[in-house]
């Protein structure tokens, strides 16, 4: 319940911020950087509960931990796009010529190796033309666009100086338990 309280506070803060920001202001740009941060604790509660019950998810049951260029790599449970790992980048590095967006959407994925749930920040690399490799669509607990912090359809180049989508990374943030 304590975690739930933190979640609710985080969500209220997010909404309050979002509601008060004028779109062209410097504060809005700051908000772009901040918007994902308070949202981080939102999803894992549900997923951690699932992990506690030993159920996993339909994605995690078929996930693997060896090949980060395959769509069933465990961190890609909520990714949507082209894997930077196939494009000259890595799990947390953009391919040369592109740049990481400061904003991200989030998910939490269960690592089959330890059955723990980890918080993943999916971050787009922007500025270069699309990398037409390894297109993956992870929809495990991915939320609709009206719950944006966990939505993978938004072009998350918000805060970068370009909206040209190149590829997506899956950065491990920490345990979601």
């Amino acid at each position: 319940m304590k975690r739930l309280l933190v979640d609710n506070l985080g969500e209220r803060l997010t909404r309050r911020l979002a509601g008060r920001l004028s779109r062209r202001s410097a504060l809005a740009r700051l908000g772009a950087l901040l918007v994902a941060a308070p949202a981080f604790p939102l999803l894992p509660v549900q997923r951690a509960r699932a992990a506690d019950e030993g159920k996993g998810t339909d994605f995690s049951r078929a996930a693997q931990t060896d090949d980060n260029t395959a769509c069933n790599y465990w961190r890609y449970c909520g990714i949507d796009g082209n894997l930077c790992a196939c494009c000259g980048g890595g799990m947390h590095s953009c391919p040369p010529g592109s740049q990481p967006s400061p904003t991200s959407w989030i998910g939490s994925c269960i690592n089959p190796a330890d059955q723990r749930s980890y918080l993943i920040a999916y971050r787009d690399c922007c500025g270069a033309s699309i990398c037409p490799k390894c297109s993956c669509l992870g929809t495990d607990h991915a939320m609709p666009i009206y719950r944006p912090q966990a939505n993978n359809h938004i072009i998350w180049c918000i805060g970068a100086n370009t909206f040209e989508y190149h590829c997506s990374m899956a950065i491990l943030v920490g345990l979601a338990e």
């Binding site: 997010t14 909404r15 309050r16 911020l17 979002a18 509601g19 008060r20 920001l21 004028s22 779109r23 062209r24 809005a28 908000g31 772009a32 918007v35 549900q46 699932a50 159920k55 996993g56 998810t57 339909d58 994605f59 049951r61 949507d80 904003t103 500025g127 270069a128 033309s129 699309i130 037409p132 669509l137 929809t139 495990d140 607990h141 991915a142 939320m143 609709p144 666009i145 009206y146 719950r147 944006p148 359809h153 938004i154 072009i155 180049c157 918000i158 100086n161 370009t162 909206f163 040209e164 989508y165």
Partner: protein, 399 residues
């Protein structure tokens, strides 16, 4: 002629003239054989534009899947499966037709240096007998995302346009199309998308499972209030691509597990009892229980509604919970008044988008990443097929 400069410039102009009239001069040496009649001299031609007759009842209009396919708004004739015309657009564009079916509004975004530079969000207007650009209205911002049908819409009478903006503060830009200007931006914290109703109202879906309802007072000022929570956002969210009939204000909010929440949009929305698509088919309702494989709605623009007959067409697949973007091997036809499954149509390959025409002899369009199948909406027979660029948003006349 004696005023033309000599040299390469004059030669270039002559080359252009020769090319434009080339069909006239080439056959001159081909004299007919003795005894044959001389064919009539071919007439000279001028370049023009095929007249645009307005969007026809059986035409489908679709944008492209951004970053994958060349952008543009394309019109295709469902009776022939052949292109009718194309209008230029940016990537990440959305569009809507005015009630006259001749004026096209495109919400789009450009950067002065392609991938960088000054950003310009605009509502571009196309129309007239040649479907040409008739100007733009500057917008204060937009949503940049994969195609979302409900990110842009007109009021039922076509007077206003509503454009969902996310930067990342969510708001709806209200544009007066008669005056050609932005009226206001309505903040909708925690919510997104736009479902118009009435003269000036709209509703948005919210991240807590409620609706934000926005309407104007006597002075034309918008106020926003929240409805009750009517769906479980964490376990069974409502699709972004849920459908609504602007004229009647009936929205059919469809969940990932196949529950239909009929909502009569108004300042005080009325919520009808939800019903299950799987239940309508005589199956147990789908749940979000891990490992449950059953029929579920899924895809991109996975549902279409035909208002006159109350029929809902949904791309359905057999899948596990959260397989909400898996294309359908079947299209289910559901009676939204009786909550009954009327028919199940097989699709040649998984369809991720569907649309249905609103006329009395309706066509059903089912699309994948590369194919369009034109089907009878009554029998499900595949009438014709053609290759298309990966599609984004679909529109038909009256929707």
């Amino acid at each position: 002629m004696n005023r033309l400069p000599h040299g390469r410039a004059a030669y270039g102009i002559a080359a252009v003239l020769a090319l434009s009239a080339g069909r006239l001069v080439l056959p001159a040496h081909a004299a007919p054989a003795a005894g044959q009649q001389t064919p009539p001299v071919l007439q000279s031609e001028t370049a023009g534009v095929t007249p645009f007759q307005g969007l026809a009842p059986h035409e489908l209009v679709y944008s492209a899947m951004d970053a994958i396919a060349p952008p543009g708004i394309r019109i295709i004739d469902g009776d022939t499966a052949k292109p009718v015309g194309t209008v230029y657009s940016s990537e990440y564009a959305n569009f809507a037709w005015a009630p006259d079916n001749r004026t096209l509004y495109i919400s789009e975004t450009y950067w002065t240096m392609g991938n960088r530079g000054k950003r310009e969000d605009v509502l571009s207007i196309y129309g007239g007998p040649k479907l040409q650009n008739e100007g733009e209205i500057a917008l204060p911002g937009r949503l940049i995302s994969d195609p979302k049908t409900n990110s842009f819409a007109l009021s039922p009478d076509g007077h206003y346009a509503y454009d969902y903006s996310f930067q990342p503060a969510p708001s709806v830009t209200v544009i007066d199309l008669k005056q050609g200007k932005v009226l206001t931006s309505v903040e909708i914290p925690g919510c997104g998308l736009v479902f118009p109703f009435g003269e000036r109202g709209f509703a948005s879906l919210c991240g807590d499972g409620s609706l934000a309802v926005a309407d104007t007072d006597a002075k034309g000022q918008y106020s926003v209030h929240r409805s009750k929570r009517f769906f479980d956002i964490m376990n069974d969210p409502v699709f972004d691509e849920s459908v609504a009939d602007r004229k009647s204000g009936l929205a059919l909010f469809i969940t990932y597990d196949g529950w239909v929440h009929p909502v009569h949009l108004a300042d005080q929305p009325r919520f009808d009892k939800p019903w299950s698509m799987e239940g309508a088919a005589g199956l147990s309702p789908a749940t979000s229980q891990v490992g449950q494989i059953t029929w579920r709605p899924g895809g991109q623009a996975m549902a279409a509604y035909q208002a006159a007959t109350g029929r809902l067409f949904v791309a359905m697949h057999e899948g596990h919970p959260w397989s909400s973007e898996q294309g359908g091997s079947q299209v289910w036809v559901l009676d939204v008044r009786q909550h009954r499954l009327l028919k199940r149509f097989d699709v040649p390959e998984a369809a991720t988008l569907v649309a249905v025409t609103q006329d009395a002899q309706p066509l059903l369009f089912a699309l994948s990443d590369g194919w369009l199948w034109v089907m009878s909406a009554d029998s499900g027979a595949v009438l014709r097929a053609t290759q298309v660029v990966a599609p984004g948003v679909l529109r038909v006349r009256g929707h």
